[in-house]
């Protein structure tokens, strides 16, 4: 069970900003998110970067209850 943080277009597609999802790795958490939020979210996820605890991460990275997986679609700040 990790915390997942859904930002910008990912938040809109998922319908929530944060959530808790099962999974031993980043990849498993994200698959759980697609199951929960559906295909619109899956499209956004495809173009998003993934950070764990504020740092870029791979899908293989192990995660636990203290970890925060953030989904970052393409940014448009400033």
């Amino acid at each position: 069970m990790s915390r997942i943080l859904l930002l910008g277009p990912a938040r809109e597609a998922a319908g929530v900003r944060d959530d808790h999802i099962e999974g031993a790795t980043v990849g498993e958490v994200l698959r759980g998110a697609v199951d929960r939020y559906g295909s619109t979210f899956e499209e956004v996820l495809k173009v998003s970067k993934i950070w764990v605890n504020g740092e870029p991460s791979s899908r293989e990275q192990a995660v636990g209850p203290q970890d925060e997986v953030a989904v970052l679609p393409p940014v448009s700040g400033g």
């Binding site: 910008g8 938040r11 504020g54 870029p56 940014v75 700040g77 400033g78």
Partner: protein, 154 residues
């Protein structure tokens, strides 16, 4: 504050930005130069609508963390810079209002100009931030978006 007495001021909030406050804050007896960048929301649309305001959204914690990292890299590259502030507004921002303000002070002007430009370039590339265009009958995410990159790759 670091060992040299240098200070950073990073803020992501809904409150209107006040460049003059940041400029006063950045004024130091040893600094002859203060460079300010105001990024204002402008009349342009990536979605083809008659946009009246923009709406910014982020994780304040992640965005502020990245901004602090941007300043740390700027201080490595331009060791003489003294005060550095990066403030980004979130929520709804009317056209013509500042969405981001960056202020850099330094003894001489060249490094203040270069560091300020570096900071805004890198904020745009490396800070999590999402912009919606808002018009009278609707809104949509800005199409002027790009993959976020790490500050050290920016």
């Amino acid at each position: 504050m670091d060992a040299k007495g240098n200070v950073d001021w990073v803020e992501v909030a809904e409150t209107p930005l006040e460049a003059d406050l940041l400029e006063q804050w950045a004024t130091r007896p040893e600094c002859g130069a203060i460079v300010t960048f105001c990024g204002t929301t402008r009349r342009s649309s990536s979605t083809g609508h008659d946009v009246t305001e923009l709406e910014y959204e982020t994780s304040v914690e992640l965005a502020e963390g990245r901004m602090r990292e941007v300043i740390a890299v700027a201080r490595e590259r331009w060791p003489d810079i003294v005060a550095v502030a990066i403030h980004h507004r979130i929520g709804r921002v009317l056209l013509g209002q500042p969405a981001v303000v960056i202020v850099v002070s330094s003894p001489h002007r060249r490094e203040a100009f270069e560091a300020a430009q570096y900071c805004i370039d890198t904020v745009k590339k490396g800070v999590p931030m999402w912009k919606r265009e808002v018009w009278p009958t609707g809104s949509a995410w800005s199409q002027e978006a790009h993959d976020i990159v790490s500050v050290h790759d920016a």
